[in-house]
């Protein structure tokens, strides 16, 4: 759980963050995904090398 920019109405964010491992055809992929709680929408933030 992270949150920030609470002092800016338009830029305030609150997230639930997960690092997830996915079984892919060529191995395992490790991703950082998050749910933006204000929009209740999931996003992929990045991929671990």
């Amino acid at each position: 759980m992270t949150s920030g920019n609470w002092w800016k109405k338009d830029e305030e964010w609150r997230r639930e963050e997960w690092d997830v491992a996915l079984q892919l055809s060529d191995g395992v992929g490790l991703y950082r995904i998050f749910r933006e709680l204000r929009q209740n929408a999931w996003f992929v933030e990045g991929l671990y090398d």
Binding site: T2, S3, K9
Partner: protein
């Protein structure tokens, strides 16, 4: 499962925690936690407050600290959470913190070494810490192998279950990775795990406050703070259930908290504090030695010793012996003796003046037996607390000598000053929170201006209104944030200051009782608790208070000896001289102690003091207690014979007779309870304390019941009981001790005596000991001039650093000192005086050459205020200020080597002399005053034509007569007790005029009242009982002079 929170920081970690200890204790109560350990950074600052908030809520308040330790294994210092297990551990923790702190400069961090940690580890339990702890640091630097090395080391320091591997879960991936490593290591080393929440604030909402404080700490704005801020709001007090859920995979880490909590047996009340013993000669005990000193002192004080005096002394000595306080009295006596030996004026104040032992020992100057003062107010068996002795000393160097004597006598670690916690108030909160949110300085300046700092607060004095008045739109989200932060930080500690004079001394070492640290003043050590914490923990302190008036009295006596060839002995001053009382009755008291304020002056003609006891009453009369308790006016009416003297009950006549049936003193309250309700002396004092601060409704009810039961037993009818209960409860909050009043009255009389008999010496001493008192130096000078004293301007040819007296005994004049030249450093001023003493100055170039400490700004300022006018030009003419300014342009900068030692003759300039107005502006700008005519004197003719009367003439007008008066505003006051009324004092060449400004007149044009230096006031004269005010109807700015006349504003 029971969970105890064993790692929490409060706002006493100064910008690294966001809640006061009480808020944490209440949150523990709300979340049903049985125990919490407060581990503030490098200190036990918040421990007493946490202890006393937790205790009534049945929460165990564990003691500890996060101590910064630097070592090679973690590269940078990291914070070791240390928990106190027993008293040995507590002493070790205090000593470890003290050792670290005392080697650092004020406000600089310093860390303990691992060796020091080892040396002080006994009785302490160590946790491996959070992200700032040693384990995280070791993992960061050298991975698991470095962490292993660290744990091996720590196991050696904290063996047998005194080292715990700490786990915190704030939903952060990097933290969880660290936890995995920590769990592995704990298994490997067979160390117990311990779950904590690393609490930094009571509830999740305070995370914002912590973010703002973090920015203050790092001197940045929220917008640029990035990773310095909290990633979420999870470091708050959590219930056992929440923590068990978070650590559901590791129940043992939760169970261990309860187990460890049960092993932490130390509580803050078992501090081991002991007041030092006094070294007595062989064959003597402390009490026998005290008896000898009291006996000797008694013979000096009381020329004939009455049975009453003997009985009282014996009673006091027996109680002192019983309470084992003889050492304390001897130590205070020793300090007083040091003062006497070194010719330092000293006078005990406060409740100590109720004690005949203190009087005999020379600690106090008022005879409590002659004045029939109540000993129980000072010391009682029932109260079970230390007595409080305050010593007034001349402020400045002499007080410092006494403080250093105490340090020297008890050692650097045996004595310290109490701390003073500086908290966020409105203006500071607005300024600092605005800064972190990135508001511009001008907007913050507006807010700061409207944020009220008057003592009186109306319903509009709140942050919402300040923001509106400063033009902020509260619907704007960032402004709403700003407002919220301001409200939340109010009362949080900001940093540690130093109490004005409380000294704590301890048998053995004070640093094993409380951590000590360096104060901002060199050679001073301060302890980490304030005076209330010390009182709560029964740590005895001696207040060594600096009083400007004591320094002025001492200097007056020296000046009188030198210039009047007379010896004044304040200890044997008979307080009965009619000319002194004449002046006091006329309120001719500018510059005197305690009876010079506007409110005091307004009551002096009504109280009409004729003898010393009237002055004792006078000092106590103008206080919030009697005013709020509505005792002041009834007393004055009775004094003037306008109201009948009555008593609530006939049994109270002996108690209230001296104050005409109106209770004015705390001692009277005590006696009332003793007589009406059969309270013992100790019980009565307990009643006063219960009502005085931190009063609770429940306690009030209990006391009222007890009072009523006693009064009923004594046959006092219910309606009289109501009256007495009302007297007691309304008065206890603010009442002033009669003994304290008597001590102050002595100083008030002495100062009035010196003013009446030795005006030149007294004024000179006052000017050399500023700041003090109610009026600015400019007002003191004008008042002295109206009394016939000649005051001469600053002159490099005659002035010393201090003000001095010139001439013969019957024609003394006062020469202003160089200390009044704005910006001039004392070292430069003294260098000038030294050079002049070798030989007089012949030119400005001579001054510049012989006093290189004077920079060009100094020379310019001396020229501006006319201090160089006595230097002659080549032709022998005197320089005027512009001539001098013209000349000094050449000097005060580096002299080329070829020209060194060359003395040039000053020549006059082609410039015109300064005009009158320019000289006035220069005088006020450069010295804060003028010794020439008052600025109003130059406008008198014009003002008279407009129907404006002078301050002197105003006093002759009838009650309710319309009048217009004008003058320089010299004081502004809005007392907390005056329902929003503002009092202004205007000064002109004839004296002072008092102006009453009602709230509606003020709100019509607040800036004229607050800012204008000269005003013209239309209003109605209030002339009653010889006291004259003008009740303002209209206040207008007046264009008299651009001179920067200073006003003393009391907020």
């Amino acid at each position: 499962m029971q969970y105890a929170e064993l790692h929490a920081r409060s706002a006493f970690s100064f910008l690294e925690g966001a809640s006061v200890p009480e808020a944490l204790a209440y949150a523990c109560f709300a979340k049903q936690l049985p125990a919490m350990a407060l581990l503030d950074r490098n200190g036990l600052y918040g421990s007493p407050r946490f202890h006393f908030a937790a205790k009534p809520n049945k929460i165990s308040a564990h003691v500890g600290a996060e101590v910064s330790v630097g070592d090679t294994l973690t590269a940078e210092p990291s914070y070791y959470p240390l928990l106190v297990r027993d008293r040995a551990g507590y002493s070790n923790l205090c000593r470890l913190i003290t050792k670290t702190k005392l080697r650092a400069l004020k406000n600089q961090t310093s860390a303990a070494t691992l060796d020091e940690l080892e040396e002080h580890a006994n009785g302490l339990v160590c946790l491996t810490g959070d992200e700032d702890g040693p384990l995280a640091a070791a993992l960061r630097i050298g991975g698991i192998s470095q962490a292993r090395q660290l744990l091996e080391h720590l196991i050696a320091i904290f063996p047998k279950g005194n080292l715990y591997v700490e786990l915190q879960r704030h939903f952060r991936p990097e933290q969880e990775a660290r936890n995995h490593a920590a769990i592995e290591l704990a298994r490997e080393f067979k160390l117990p795990l311990l779950a904590t929440n690393g609490v930094l604030y009571a509830g999740p909402d305070e995370r914002r406050v912590l973010d703002a404080l973090t920015c203050l700490k790092h001197k940045c704005m929220l917008d640029e703070a990035g990773r310095l801020l909290q990633t979420n709001a999870s470091r708050h007090i959590r219930s056992g259930k929440e923590m068990a859920l978070i650590f559901r995979d590791l129940p043992v880490a939760i169970a261990n908290t309860a187990e460890l909590s049960s092993r932490l047996e130390f509580v803050l009340e078992s501090l081991g504090y002991e007041f030092p013993h006094y070294p007595v000669p062989p064959g003597e005990t402390e009490i026998s030695y005290l008896r000898t000193q009291v006996d000797q002192g008694m013979r000096e004080r009381y020329r004939t010793i009455t049975d009453k005096a003997r009985r009282q002394l014996e009673r006091e000595l027996r109680l002192i012996e019983k309470l084992k306080l003889a050492g304390y009295f001897l130590i205070v006596w020793d300090i007083v003796r040091f003062c006497r030996t070194n010719k330092i004026l000293v006078q005990g104040r406060g409740s100590a003046a109720n004690s005949a032992v203190c009087y005999s020992l020379g600690i106090t100057a008022v005879d409590p037996i002659a004045m029939d003062l109540l000993f129980e107010r000072f010391l009682s068996e029932e109260r079970g607390e230390w007595p409080d002795i305050d010593l007034d000393l001349p402020s400045g160097d002499e007080r410092e000598r006494v403080i250093q004597y105490v340090y020297q006598r008890y050692g650097e670690r045996g004595a310290a000053m109490t701390a003073n916690v500086i908290t966020f108030r409105s203006k500071l909160a607005a300024r600092e929170m605005g800064k972190v949110l990135g508001f511009k300085p001008d907007a913050l300046g507006r807010l700061s201006e409207v944020a009220s700092s008057w003592e009186w607060r109306g319903p509009d004095d709140n942050f919402d209104n300040y923001f509106r008045k400063a033009g902020f739109d509260l619907n704007h989200s960032r402004i709403a944030c700003f407002l919220e932060l301001c409200k939340r930080v109010i009362d949080l500690p900001r940093h540690l200051g130093q109490h004005s004079g409380g000294m704590v001394v301890c048998q053995g070492a004070l640093d094993s009782v409380v951590p000590l640290e360096p104060a901002s003043m060199p050679n001073r050590v301060v302890l980490q608790w304030d005076k209330d914490d010390c009182a709560d923990l029964r740590i005895i302190k001696i207040d060594l208070l600096g009083l400007g008036m004591m320094a002025a009295l001492r200097e007056s006596i020296d000046l009188i000896r030198t210039h009047y060839k007379e010896e004044v002995d304040l200890a044997h001053l008979s307080a009965d001289q009619p000319d002194v009382y004449d002046a006091i009755r006329k309120a001719d008291t500018v510059g005197t102690f305690q009876i010079e304020s506007r409110a005091q002056m307004a009551s002096l003609p009504r109280n009409n003091p004729q003898r010393f006891y009237d002055l004792v009453v006078q000092v106590a009369l103008i206080r919030p207690g009697p005013i709020v308790g509505q005792m002041t006016n009834p007393y004055l009416k009775r004094r003037m014979g306008k109201e009948e003297v009555t008593y609530p009950h006939s049994s109270l006549v002996p108690v209230l007779e001296r104050t005409l049936g109106v209770p004015l003193f705390q001692e009277q309250l005590l006696r009332m309870a003793m007589i009406c309700a059969n309270f013992s002396g100790g019980e009565a004092e307990e009643l006063r304390r219960a009502l005085s601060h931190k009063r609770s409704e429940q306690r009030m009810k209990q006391i009222e019941t007890k009072l009523r039961v006693g009064m009923t037993q004594n046959g006092i009818p219910p309606e009289t009981q109501d009256k007495i209960v009302q007297f007691v409860s309304s008065f206890a909050l603010y009442g002033f001790p009669e003994s304290h009043s008597a001590s102050f009255a002595l100083l008030a009389y002495a100062s009035a005596f010196l003013k009446v008999r030795y005006l030149a010496a007294f004024t000179c001493a006052l000017l050399n000991n500023q700041p003090m008192g109610f009026y600015s130096p400019a007002t003191l000078v004008k008042d002295a001039q109206r009394h016939g004293l000649k005051v001469r301007t600053v002159d490099v040819g005659s002035s010393d650093w201090n003000c001095t007296l010139e001439g013969e005994q019957d024609s003394l004049s006062l020469r202003l000192g160089l200390r009044y030249v704005r910006g001039l450093r004392q070292s430069a001023g003294e260098a000038l005086v030294d050079a002049r003493r070798k030989r007089p100055f012949v030119s400005i170039s001579d001054i510049a050459a012989r006093v290189p400490q004077l920079g060009q700004p100094d020379l310019r300022m001396l020229a501006t205020v006319g201090a160089l006018n006595s230097i002659s030009t080549e032709s022998g003419a005197r320089l005027h200020r512009r001539d001098a300014l013209w000349q000094v342009q050449k000097y005060g900068t580096r002299v080329p080597p070829m020209l060194e030692g060359v003395i040039e003759q000053d020549t006059s300039s082609p410039l015109k002399r300064m005009e009158l107005e320019e000289r006035l502006v220069a005088d006020f700008h450069g010295t804060g005053m003028t010794v020439g005519p008052h600025p109003m004197a130059y406008r008198r003719q014009q003002l008279r034509e407009k129907g404006v009367v002078s301050a002197g003439e105003l006093k002759q007008l009838w009650h309710n007569q319309p009048a217009v008066v004008a003058g320089a505003v010299i004081t502004r006051q809005r007392p907390g007790t005056a329902k929003g009324l503002i009092f202004l004092t205007l000064e002109d060449e004839t004296g002072h005029a008092n102006i009453l400004v009602m709230p509606d007149v003020y709100s019509g044009n607040p800036l004229v009242v607050l800012r204008e230096r000269f005003v013209c006031v239309h209003g109605l004269v209030q002339n009653q009982d010889g006291v004259v005010h003008l009740k303002a109807e209209k206040i207008m700015p007046l264009n008299v002079s651009a001179a920067d006349v200073a006003s003393h504003d009391f907020h």
